[in-house]
């Protein structure tokens, strides 16, 4: 069966520091991978998605970037965090197709101080 791991679960970082959140999927190959940010009352905002190694699509221009160095690894990064980057970040995977569901990781609560 497929599993998705996301870490760390919580993170407190100072403004201006770098960020690296990692997500890995097991039990499947060539999944679509996603980073979402969840804000209270605003649902899930898609930040990045990837349909293959090295292929990244950015949905929202901002202080973050994503990379997919391996088939089942998806990394969310920032060179210098802003206060506004605080939030709950979710990684997800799914197969391509209009009738496929997404599977989510446990999420990372990022607080920038």
């Amino acid at each position: 069966s497929q599993t998705i791991h996301q870490w760390p679960a919580t993170l407190v970082q100072p403004v201006g520091s770098p960020l690296s959140l990692e997500c890995t999927v097991e039990g499947t190959s060539n999944p679509n991978l996603y980073w979402y940010r969840q804000a209270a009352g605003r649902g899930l905002q898609l930040l990045f998605y990837s349909v293959g190694i090295g292929q990244i699509s950015s949905e929202v221009p901002q202080n973050l970037s994503a990379s997919r160095p391996q088939d089942r690894q998806f990394i969310l990064s920032s060179k210098k965090l802003l206060l506004s980057d605080s939030g709950f970040y979710l990684c997800a995977w799914r197969w391509t197709g209009v009738n496929t569901e997404a599977f989510f990781g446990q999420g990372t609560r990022l607080t920038v101080v």
Binding site: G41, G43, Y49, L90, T96, V98, N99
Partner: protein, 114 residues
């Protein structure tokens, strides 16, 4: 591109009350729809999904949703809620026919009072 909206942001119910959470989608072609739930401290998980066929879809934990094409709606229902249904609920749909991503509604926070 498909968009999804949920008009109830916060709902408070007493146990045993009936639940209906609204979800509307924008694109009227072939539609695939999902409801997800996020219990406190847990990850998002699928409640139910609609692809085609019977417009009344049964999901886990006694939830169901009805696809009404004429109203562009896919409302989530449960006849009698329990305290353990306290959670945030999200409606979702593929953003386009390529199916590369899901777009989510703003979510509805449900609180069930014991």
């Amino acid at each position: 591109a498909q968009s999804v909206s949920q008009h109830n942001h916060h709902v408070i119910l007493s146990e045993a009350a009936s639940l209906e959470l609204g979800c509307n989608y924008s694109y009227g072609g072939t539609v695939n729809l999902f409801w997800y739930v996020q219990y406190p401290g847990q990850h998002l998980q699928l409640l139910l999904k609609y692809f085609s066929g019977d417009p009344l879809v049964k999901g886990i934990k006694g939830f169901e949703a009805e696809f009404i094409k004429s109203k562009f709606s896919f409302n989530l229902r449960k006849p009698s809620v329990q305290w353990s249904d306290t959670a945030e609920y999200f409606c979702a749909a593929p953003r386009d026919n390529a199916g590369n991503m899901l777009t989510f509604g703003g979510g509805t926070r449900l609180m069930v009072k014991p």
